[in-house]
């Protein structure tokens, strides 16, 4: 409150244009519009299976939600910390196997009880992520990427060869006895719930002191360390947290698919798909991975349904991948946001003299609202996504 008053006072002293909206009012309005937008999207997502009752469509919906949650979770570590892990399929597969093995051991036949195992799957994924992270996060950059790939292959090999996973014959999931017409809807809503949690996590991390510490690591890890960020702990926590939703959607996927095979539970294409989705939408943004998955996963499902050939799909997917990375290296969301920002700037250019001090006040107050920028952020251009805040810089 005091801060707002101070900013207000300073603004008034410099520019007495009283008919302009106060910066905090602008921000509140923008935040209201933003909340309304999120609520509308959520309503659309909830209504989707009622409008499109075709099982093929809702099945695509389930897969899309699973990947949206996974890409968001992946990004909440990779996008903010700058580390690029290509081993999140480990958590996906661990979650999937947890569900089918637990259901088998506990003699759960089917129905809703199986979904009670989903949090357990998430917990197992986190339990796997901690030693994984302890090893992998000792290294940086290229070595880190390669280590995550190697650990991924260790898990795939174990799934093929350990007794508990029953090798390449796979383990059947419990069979639900729901009517075919609305069969997919249960999976859809459970996946949606996980997605909401994952997105809330991602958003919360982005706005928090913890998130700023991650961004500081991304900009310059050594400097962050010297500024007092507990680098190892922050990285490991973010890594383990990112495994939670991935393990949970892995479990939902296993129940939905009906049979878990090592090569599909621990799929190298999963690693690369999740990364591509985040890159396409915008690495390090909250909405980017959601958008990326929303574009790519239906496309992938469509291809699988339309052309039975896996090979053709690989060619198209790889080519698309290359085009995205070469033409839109920063992703859709940051590119569009920059365009909009520069357009706004150009439009308000004629009244720049009057609004100059206002703009300064706006940035100041929005930084205050973010809290804790001083100290944690280091030299990076870090600012919470205000109404016209600067686009996030990637390091």
């Amino acid at each position: 409150m005091k801060v707002t008053a101070l900013v207000q006072g300073g603004r008034q002293a410099r520019s007495p244009a009283a008919d302009m909206e106060e910066p905090w009012q602008q921000e509140r309005r923008a935040r209201g519009a933003w909340a309304a937008g999120v609520a509308a999207l959520l309503a659309i997502a909830i209504a989707f299976p009622w409008v499109f009752t075709n099982p093929t469509t809702t099945s695509i919906g389930v897969f899309t939600l699973i990947y949206m949650a996974a890409a968001t979770a992946w990004n909440s570590f990779a996008g903010y910390s700058g580390y690029i892990p290509l081993g999140h399929a480990v958590f996906f597969g661990s979650g999937a196997y947890t569900l089918v093995i637990a259901a088998q051991d506990l003699h759960i036949r089917g129905g809703y009880t199986v979904f009670a195992l989903v949090p357990l799957a998430g917990a197992v994924a986190v339990a796997v992520a901690v030693p994984f992270g302890l090893v992998a996060l000792r290294t940086r950059r290229h070595t880190f990427v390669v280590i995550t790939i190697a650990i991924f292959f260790i898990f795939q090999l174990m799934a093929f060869n350990l007794g508990i996973t029953q090798g390449s014959s796979g383990i059947p999931a419990p069979t639900p006895t729901w009517p075919a017409a609305t069969f997919n809807d249960r999976f859809y809503y459970v996946a949606l719930a996980i997605l909401v949690v994952a997105a809330a996590f991602s958003w919360g991390i982005r706005r928090s002191r913890f998130g700023l510490q991650l961004l500081a690591i991304r900009d310059d890890e050594d400097r962050a360390l010297s500024l007092g960020v507990r680098v190892s702990r922050v990285k490991l926590t973010a890594f383990a947290l990112s495994a939670l939703p991935v393990g949970m959607v892995g479990a939902v996927w296993a129940y939905f698919i009906g049979q878990v095979y090592p090569q599909f539970a621990f799929d190298p294409l999963f690693d690369i798909s999740v990364a591509l989705m985040a890159f396409l939408g915008g690495l390090g943004t909250v909405s980017g991975p959601l958008l990326g998955a929303l574009i790519l996963e239906p496309l992938q499902q469509y291809f699988t349904l339309q052309f039975s050939s896996n090979a053709l799909y690989l060619v198209v997917y790889g080519a698309l991948f290359l085009v995205v990375i070469l033409l839109l290296p920063r992703g859709i969301i940051p590119t569009v946001r920059d365009r909009v920002a520069s357009w706004r700037e150009r439009r308000s250019g004629s009244t720049a003299l009057a609004s100059g001090p206002d703009a300064a006040g706006g940035v100041l107050s929005s930084e205050m609202a973010g809290g804790g920028v001083a100290g944690a952020a280091g030299g990076g251009a870090v600012s919470p996504p205000g109404p016209s805040g600067p686009a996030v810089r990637r390091g």
């Binding site: 940086r140 053709l312 080519a319």
Partner: protein, 293 residues
Amino acid sequence: MGGAVAKAVVDGVLTGGVYALMAAGLTLIFGVMDIINIAQGILVVLGAYLSYVLSQDLGIGLFLGLLITIPSLFVIGVAVEWAFMRRLQERERTALSILVTYGVAIVIEGILELIFGPNYVQLRAWYVNQSFHVLGFYLPYIYVFGFALAVFLLGVLYLILYRSRFGRSVRASLQDRAAARLVGVNVERVSTITFGIGIAVTAAGGMVFGATNAFNANSGYDLISRLLTIVILGGLGSIGGALGAAVFMTVIEGLVAVLWSPVWATLVFYAALVLVLVIKPVGIFGQRAARAQ
């Protein structure tokens, strides 16, 4: 038992030489360009398929065919570098190079599967089928021939790198890109040619791999994870390290297969990487792996 152990060691050293050749290409590309080429594995498979087509359909011998496949892969390497690598922005190079080469790998894998289908094939020749008796076990000739080829090509690589003017500019770029540019090295051209050379070696590696293993389009994943393990253990950018690590790893893998079980031998391969990095994050043979940002 003694014979089996001796066989494991000899096998390991001989296959290690071939892996060393493929890994040398990978680590050379990294050293000069700061790029990890995830497509190296599938390019080995591509080399194997090229040899397959030449020997099967045109009746050209495997070793003679290398005169065609090595230049072909060199051209492919130069094309990939020209089309993708040089377009990467300096800032995002690390992450983007891995993703881009992964994309290239996926495209090549898809094309190979479209053409050749999912069935496993293996290269055929008399020296693949016939063996000779040594140290109490039988060894197919191809292991020795492949090792000789690898040693020969590594020798050529050595001569290029250490006895030629071009090699001197490669090594200068390897040490410091900016400084090399300052003293007049055309780093872009060096990068392109290095990328081509790094990929050309996969033609030879692929021929030997295809003669000693059954392969299909999916074999690239297994190969690249092995090659990455080798170059990380050897220290990224160090060719000597890659040679040592390749032989070390294949011998260990062979020994585990004999003394314990073949099922877990591959796992030991990766587990060794994890173990080594827990103890020494820069790799066994390397000092440069964790290069400053």
